[in-house]
């Protein structure tokens, strides 16, 4: 290299121009890895909230992830009212309250199972537990199940859109952004 180092100014300038081209093509390459428009357009799921029965866990699908929907019973509501932290996690539609969460354990992403008799979730992978509002009751999960972005539209719930109720939850730190 030493006896060949007189690359000179033009060599460096040419190298710089070539470098700009390389960066430009990297931009196109990055864009080609982005999710396709059809994938993004499919990122909305509408749930009809009249379809759910009390204390019966239904698993819906949103952006490929399982979504737990659990309509709360009167007893659950009473228990929840005693604990404001639980109450904040619920979504009210009409007179009913719903727990709607991404059904992936906040520890390492397994799907917890629901036990209707005990009204609680148990994650089989590492033993984490959640109550009927999916608030964490036993470690290792660091927090309750995450709530997907939602918008209330009459008796329907649109997952994927951020309504005012969801934004409030996000600000209050009840859920992390999914």
């Amino acid at each position: 290299m030493k006896n060949n180092s007189r690359r000179g100014f033009m060599g460096k300038a040419f190298g710089a121009v070539a470098g700009i081209g390389a960066i430009g093509s990297l931009y196109a390459m990055k864009k080609s890895w982005d999710p396709l428009p059809s994938v993004k357009a499919a990122g909305f799921t509408t749930l009809n909230m009249d379809d759910y029965k009390e204390n019966e866990l239904v698993t819906e699908k949103w952006r490929g992830k399982p979504i737990f929907v659990l309509k709360q019973t009167k007893e659950m509501m009473e228990k929840a009212k005693a604990n404001p932290k639980d109450m904040d996690r619920l979504i009210q539609i009409g007179d009913s309250h719903f727990m709607v969460c991404v059904g992936l354990c906040t520890h390492l992403g397994c799907i917890p199972g629901y036990n209707p008799a005990e009204e609680s979730f148990l994650c089989a992978c590492h033993g984490g537990m959640y109550d009927f509002t999916a608030e964490v009751t036993k470690a290792p999960p660091p927090r309750g199940l995450d709530i997907p972005p939602f918008k209330i539209d009459g008796n329907k719930l649109v997952l994927g859109e951020e309504g005012p109720e969801y934004k409030k939850m996000l600000e209050a730190g009840i859920t992390l952004k999914v």
Binding site: G8, F9, G21
Partner: protein
């Protein structure tokens, strides 16, 4: 140093490259494909409209004595289709068009000729020869008792009066009216019976598909084969071919069942725009990115030349 031979060598390389290119591309294609000049959607073989039409009288004729609404919907004037697309195709072979946009999609001259003698205007007399009892499904208008040319002009004037003007006619409307009842375009989710909606339930989707297939069966029986999907026809055929083909299908395919469509020049451009949107969607981006890349690569070449000059200064 000896005399520089590079310009001569470059000239030879470029010469043989261009000769080869010319022979395998422009020349070979000129030998393989017939060249048809466009006549600008003038339809010179059809008689000019001699009378000035009156839309009010035309309305009465279209809705009444003309008998148009027996088969055609005119949604814009509140006339629904007498039957759904699948049933209509089973009866007529193809669903008769909704006439809401007809006045701005079709040439006035063509419409007038069509009303009087459909098989002639559509250039399908080889298929529908009245003397052999082969009647075109569209019944010719025999006049409502007055001056027939005047009556036809009135009807055309009415259709023009209700049709969208200028930019109100979107590319999709032009395509749907002129082409869409025979040709699907699955890149735009268009089927012969309309845009395919997204269904939540699989059964609903399958029911829709079944309707499309039923429609296509009628169409196949009517046309002899299923007219092709036009999703990327703009890339497989190109604008010139599509335009001249639509202008007069017999130019290219003697005896084809495809009728002359009768679109006017503006509507033809709209149809082309629709086909470009479906088959060459990113053309604007391609041109814009292309210009930037060309500017960049010229700068790249200039810097490369300057670098070479500097490095080679010591070598001579």
């Amino acid at each position: 140093m000896k005399q520089n031979k590079e310009p001569l060598i470059l000239a030879i390389v470029v010469f043989f490259t261009i000769v080869t290119y010319y022979l395998v591309e422009p020349f070979a294609h000129s030998q393989m494909h017939k060249h048809v000049e466009s006549e600008g959607f003038e339809y010179k073989d059809l008689p000019e409209l001699t009378k000035k039409g009156d839309a009010t009288r035309g309305k009465d004729l279209v809705m009444g004595a003309g008998g148009c609404t027996g088969c055609h919907a005119i949604t814009k004037a509140g006339m629904p289709a007498p039957m759904d697309a699948v049933t209509a195709a089973a009866s007529y072979g193809v669903n008769p068009p909704d006439l809401s946009n007809a006045g701005s999609v079709y040439s006035a001259k063509f419409l007038a000729s069509l009303i009087k003698n459909p098989a002639h205007a559509l250039m399908v007399e080889h298929k529908f020869d009245a003397s052999k009892g082969q009647m075109h499904p569209m019944v010719p208008f025999y006049g409502a008792g007055g001056d027939m040319d005047q009556e036809v002009a009135d009807m055309v004037a009415y259709l023009e009066s209700i049709a969208p003007k200028g930019e109100e006619l979107t590319p999709a409307m032009a395509y749907e009216t002129a082409c869409g009842r025979c040709h699907a375009n699955h890149y735009e989710k268009w089927t012969q019976i309309g845009t395919k909606p997204t269904f939540k339930k699989k059964q609903d989707g399958l029911a829709f598909d079944t309707k499309v297939l039923d429609y296509q069966d009628s169409l196949k029986a009517y046309m002899g084969k299923l007219p092709p999907d036009l999703s990327i026809y703009i890339r497989s055929r190109g604008e010139h071919y599509i335009k001249t083909f639509v202008e007069n299908p017999q130019n290219y395919l003697k005896g084809t069942a495809m009728p002359r469509v009768g679109v006017n020049a503006e509507a033809a451009d709209k149809v082309i725009e629709y086909l470009e949107d479906s088959g060459d969607t990113k053309r604007h981006e391609r041109e814009a990115v292309g210009m930037n890349v060309m500017i960049y690569i010229i700068i790249f070449a200039i810097f490369a030349i300057l670098w070479k000059k500097q490095v080679w200064r010591d070598l001579h």
